[in-house]
């Protein structure tokens, strides 16, 4: 017995409207490809280049709880701000973030990352110095790699000390494209 798209949509909307969902997610189309975006009642919780929901569900459940449901409405705000960003009409994001359960070092690194301005780059070492751990450039790199909300927390603006792009969870092509969009390269 196939559940009709309409019935399916009505259930998902009701579940979201009643506040019964720990984390709602949906796919968002962007010029750098499809993103899987997830939000809880606290704010944006996930942006992922890994867009196969089956691969991502367990990871999403570890963030906010088992009540993970695909729900377009949950990510409306994020979708709108991402659209504006990719259209070149937005230079910083106003979205609340759900960064629960991250270790203090990660939170402080992400806090500094959030202050790297649009269109500029910094280095892993510079971020490490700014959080008071000048020798922790490699650990900063790990934090960037595990960044749960890339683009919004702009880890694409962090490059190697020689100016190499170094690495990016979504691949170096995407990192380059994002920097070009911002006029940084």
């Amino acid at each position: 017995m196939t559940v009709s798209p309409d019935l399916d949509r009505r259930f998902r909307e009701a579940a979201t409207a009643l506040g019964l969902v720990d984390l709602g997610f949906d796919l968002v189309q962007t010029p750098i490809g499809e993103l899987l975006v997830g939000a809880s009642d606290r704010g944006l919780a996930a942006i992922s280049y890994q867009t196969d929901p089956e691969e991502s569900l367990d990871r999403l459940a570890r963030i906010a709880g088992p009540r993970v449901l695909r729900s377009p409405r949950s990510v409306d705000a994020a979708r709108r701000e991402l659209d504006e960003y990719f259209a070149g009409k937005r230079r910083s994001f106003d979205l609340a973030l759900d960064l629960r359960a991250l270790p203090p070092f990660t939170v402080s690194v992400l806090g500094e990352l959030a202050r790297v301005p649009y269109g500029e780059t910094t280095t892993y070492g510079a971020l490490a110095r700014r959080v008071g751990h000048p020798k922790a450039a490699r650990a900063v790199g790990t934090v960037m790699h595990r960044n749960r909300v890339p683009i919004v927390l702009p880890c694409h603006r962090v490059v190697g000390s020689t100016g190499d792009l170094t690495g990016y969870a979504g691949g170096l092509d995407r990192k380059r494209t994002l920097l070009e969009l911002e006029g940084a390269r």
């Binding site: 017995m1 559940v3 019935l7 399916d8 009505r10 579940a15 019964l20 569900l57 695909r70």
Partner: protein, 153 residues
């Protein structure tokens, strides 16, 4: 006993939604099945965060669907005598029974929970567990004996 992790709700929903809709259409007809479908999964979602393991989720959601179907019929015919299953009170949370039934085998645990937690008949339990009424009765009674022994050794 190793506990089964609770799957993300999306996976649970996708796995069971067709069977739930089939059951509701059989019991209520196509017209009323859609609302009951939504109600079933909203009830499941409300309780989902309180589950402490992922066992018997199929039996669990089918039980919820049957209760929703009964409620729907009752609302439509408030005077009719329906004694098939289900108390007026909402069933206890699965998690409340889970503590008590800790340490039971899977079948016994399911039978005890469905019989005494949800007040289902052995026929209904058998259908939810793909078993026979006799085996369901046997499993529930063995389970209860084990619990009694543990509570008052």
């Amino acid at each position: 006993m190793e506990t089964v992790a609770i799957p993300p709700f999306e996976r649970f929903y996708e796995e069971h939604r067709s069977e739930v809709l089939r059951l509701l259409r059989r019991r209520l007809g196509a017209d009323r099945a859609d609302d009951a479908f939504q109600e079933t999964f909203l009830r499941a979602l409300r309780a989902y965060g309180r589950l402490d393991h992922g066992e018997h989720l199929r039996a669990w959601v089918l039980t919820i669907a049957k209760n929703v179907a009964l409620d729907t019929v009752r609302r439509a015919h408030p005077t009719s005598e329906l004694v098939e299953a289900g108390a007026e009170d909402s069933p206890p949370a699965y998690s409340e029974l889970a503590d008590l039934t800790d340490g039971l085998g899977t079948k016994e645990r399911a039978a005890v929970v469905l019989r005494y937690g949800y007040d289902l008949s052995y026929e209904q339990i058998a259908s939810a567990l793909d078993s026979t009424p006799g085996a369901a009765r046997q499993a529930a009674s063995t389970g209860v004996r084990r619990i009694r022994r543990r509570i008052a050794p």
